[in-house]
Amino acid sequence: MHSTAYLLLADGRFPSGGHAHSSGLEAAVAAGRVTDLAGLESFLHGRLSYAAPVTAAFTAATHLTASRLGRAPSHTHSDNKVPFLTLDAELEARTVSPALRLASRRQGRALLRAGRLTWPSELYAYLPKHPDGPHQPLALGVTTAAAGLSTEESAHIAAYGVLTGPASAAVRLLGLDPYQVQNLLARLAGACDEIAASAAAVAHKSPEELPAHAAPLADISAEIHATWEVRLFAS
């Protein structure tokens, strides 16, 4: 059975800055690529196939690394940091758009702030220091470990977040019927579960071997979005 901590973290009301990120949806709406529920469905399928496996796998791998440390704090502090640095560098190499790197780090920083105050733990200190914050999947991996969740749960929260961010942005930007959007999310639930399960299953692998799916328009439109003078969403 899932814990209440799991529900807290998965809840869109958890104050980790997610509400201000559309994960490319605002740009897709502006470019006329998403105008209705069918367009959102296609967009979300793409996010699930491309973004979710990477995000969920890095979250799960970080979770696994952190929870092993939590159980056996044997090495020195700086030795313990090495696997997190590797995960950070590998994720950085998968995030070719500077705007998306920044969006990931900003969301990571917001999550870290919320996580630290919600589930205090030594583990957060292992996250690589960066002026813009840790990458979101790394922050989520450590937070889920601090909250005592399982690797599967951490991957699940990551994959679910990939879906719900743009879905709720679509409700706000396009005025879509919220019931129809929930129905769409329910129809995507099976796919989301599968992606989370596969991500958890590769969490033990060397970070180099984790998924690296690229969605060209995600990178391209993130950069175009970053040049807009007026934005409603940060990404």
Partner: protein
Amino acid sequence: MLADHDESVPHTHPEPGVDPHPPLPQLDRAVRIGIGGPVGSGKTALVAALCRALADELRLAVVTNDIYTTEDADFLKRAGVLDPARIRAVETGCCPHTAIRDDISANLDAVEELEEAFGPLDLVLVESGGDNLTATFSKGLVDQQIFVVDVSGGDKVPRKGGPGVTTADLLVINKTDLAPLVGADLGVMDRDARARRGDLPTIFQSIAEDPHASQVAAWVRHVVAHSRGHEHAGAH
């Protein structure tokens, strides 16, 4: 001050320098003051006025949740009030109230970034995006909050109440110069504000006529002085 010249305008009450709240705990960082209120009530104009009035005496920075354009930046720049680098815009994902109340992370990050880049600072003003009468700032984000309404929405606004009008540390009723044009009875607004707010201060002002928002600036000076642990000269 308008109130001193025009008998039809109620006096600001209680005296702006007197804060009925217990003094703020002493802070080792800049005081954060939130400026909220409905769309178009004059929040940005108040930010500009406060910068104009205080930039010489206080180290200032601004976070805006407004839909911020280069025109806004140019406006503040032209007004010569603040280096645009000291202004950070925060995107709110179409949820201005969420960003100042329920999930304040982006605003906290912006405040901290400004403190890091330009610190130490005395004062950070956080302008919320225009929202409705129920939007207030989280205490996790700001130390004090100003709620700005204007007379052009009609004189019923204070009577409607809502957390902004009722609980803000300072209520500003702006654009008093327009009252005759829109048929707003300032006396009614004054009476309703008192009824809603008890001892909390309310200021009537027109930035059009007082571009330094002198009374609000005095209140802000007072808040900053309190947070520094020294009592404001006029407070006692």
